[in-house]
Symmetry: C2
Subunit: 417 residues, 2 copies
Amino acid sequence: MSLMLDEEELDDYVPLRINPYTRAQDSRIVSFLFIKLYIAWYITCMLISRNKNCLVYFSNLENIYFSKSPANIHLGKELILVTPKINTFLMKRCQYSDGSVRLRNPNIELMDQDILYHLALGSGSHDLVEMFGDVKFVCMGGTPKRMEHFANYIMQEIGHKLPAGTTLLDITKNSYRYSMYKVGPVLSISHGMGIPSVSILLHEVIKLMYHAKVKDPIFIRIGTCGGVGYEGGTVIISEEALDEMMKPYMELMVLGKLVRRPAKLDRQLARDLKGLAHRDDPYDTVIGKTMCSNDFYEGQGRLDGAFCEFTEADKMEYLMKLQKAGVVNIEMESLCFAALTNHAGIQSAVVCVTLLDRLKGDQVLAPKEVLEEWQMRPQKLIARYITTYLQRKGRLSLEGSHGSMYVKSPRRFISEN
Amino acid sequence: MSLMLDEEELDDYVPLRINPYTRAQDSRIVSFLFIKLYIAWYITCMLISRNKNCLVYFSNLENIYFSKSPANIHLGKELILVTPKINTFLMKRCQYSDGSVRLRNPNIELMDQDILYHLALGSGSHDLVEMFGDVKFVCMGGTPKRMEHFANYIMQEIGHKLPAGTTLLDITKNSYRYSMYKVGPVLSISHGMGIPSVSILLHEVIKLMYHAKVKDPIFIRIGTCGGVGYEGGTVIISEEALDEMMKPYMELMVLGKLVRRPAKLDRQLARDLKGLAHRDDPYDTVIGKTMCSNDFYEGQGRLDGAFCEFTEADKMEYLMKLQKAGVVNIEMESLCFAALTNHAGIQSAVVCVTLLDRLKGDQVLAPKEVLEEWQMRPQKLIARYITTYLQRKGRLSLEGSHGSMYVKSPRRFISEN
């Protein structure tokens, strides 16, 4: 075990920001004097090292707080740099040992009730375990229409039957923000457009998974995108998400300070999805890097926005640079989707269909019917994954005992007349 | 006229990024040698100086391209620093002299047709002048529900009558992205949550105004927000929008390079709106700075997200810092709304209602009925402004000759059966 890394070696490691929330004054954390701290820290390192490949680097030992499990090492505002292997190890620790989703926020369990404002659900007003306890797949996409369609499609594919005289209901319709449908173990939710919109949803759905005691959920984004060198209608599985500077992490401002979160997606899940592409699919299914932009027009180098302050040559130069770096498509949510699910220790994937090849144009010219057929393609791939998974678990053709609305108190979520 | 400003003086001026789109190779722009350039530039400055208060500063004279009108001065990638007065002057030049919206994108007029993809409208498929030529007010807000409600409310307030047997239609319903209603001179459109979502809408609505030959439109955002030192239910008119670092401009990445746009709102419009607050309104109406965040939870210092890596003390310190800087509310769209309308030379305002005082909590606890009454408050203020404006122009109680769907070609926008 090495305590220090060379500058060069450091480049290979992913910085993991350990929760600086808890300080010495927090009664749940035992704070030691410097020497005791050192011993405690050393033991922790030994524990971690059993997972092999362990290289731990501390910049400031005086600033460490320590509690019982490795997941709860607190370093004030210092960073601990660990290998990808260890990162995974610590990430896995974000879940309880039974696989339930663990929140990286100690405040939630201390709250009387947690109102998921943008979902129009609450831990006090709804029986979230009863409603969502059996969820395994959380599928998200931009528009309410697409996600309603996916809910009906997956219902048919997994042979899920609704009781006679019932139909699917938009569970979050009283929020007027997102649409959410539940089909047995599958949630189908619209996330709107752009990082802020998907970020609000992810915070609340991750909390929902925690309240509902869901175990090892899999999050999948089903999106649309622009291809970089790929014709309209190509299915693209993201290997990794990059920001507009081609950096593989999401930068967000927290209390006016910059925080970085690695935008990592589950590589095994991506490979499993790729493996489900059929040879006779009349379109390609590829894996590659996805550039995530905060803007549809200027940020993606489109010449057809309300403003355009660059030439076509500038645009092409930029797109070629992206292509050289391994970018195969551009969309607007993957960075946040990858970063927040990774931070919560949740397996996730992004599968999009291209609506055009950006090397050949900017405007979405395909007719409506063609666009609708294209949008089915990622849905088919996800449906193959879900049915294969449920088949393996012997859970295909479920009789839904879960999934109805169990409202304990209608205080703020009554529907309007 | 002074060519150089002291460092201190510079702080008072707003940087205006002049269109670096056109380069020497662009045939429409005459490029001069250095001396000729200097003369041309000097003449331009003289022209500008007639508008008084003129202080122009150049960092690199070798990099100037010049065309006939002041609005088309091209400086390569250099900045020209001008007084707010000049900034307004140049901004006004972004419109044609008859007040029509001018696009800062020379490509659009060269295109056969312009498909406004996220609105499901197009310059080739729809008669946009016939449909939208009479628009004066473009009102936007987060949810489709609120904007549908506003459309019905403003219809009643301005006495707009629909033909017998007709009702309002969501014009953009085939896009599944935004909802748009038209009530005589008022458009009411939902923009979703966050900057990327409102940015796509603004690009397309600004292009829509251009195609429809709308003159001097006024854009107003009707939103919800968290108050900083103001109780839930307070109406807040934004004086200026700030980013999470309290900088008064929007930063966006264009072709991997950072671009800054001043997030300026129309101060006179803000004052006019404030003047319409009634003394006997059972709530306060205030003017102040608005902080615009890219995140609802961590970015706004909430302790109740899926992740929280700071203490309550850190949060309060940050909010107090915002309050000291004159910030009265926090929301998620104003920065982009101000920056893009300002860049297009369009008068704009942001009016929000607070859903809670962030100095007292994070969760939105007010019951649904109370929240709905609160959301009416900014709508009432905007309705007073619109009715006063139309009254002054003798246009109250319009008979709508415009506003029906005039579809020339149904190619991609046919409704589904």
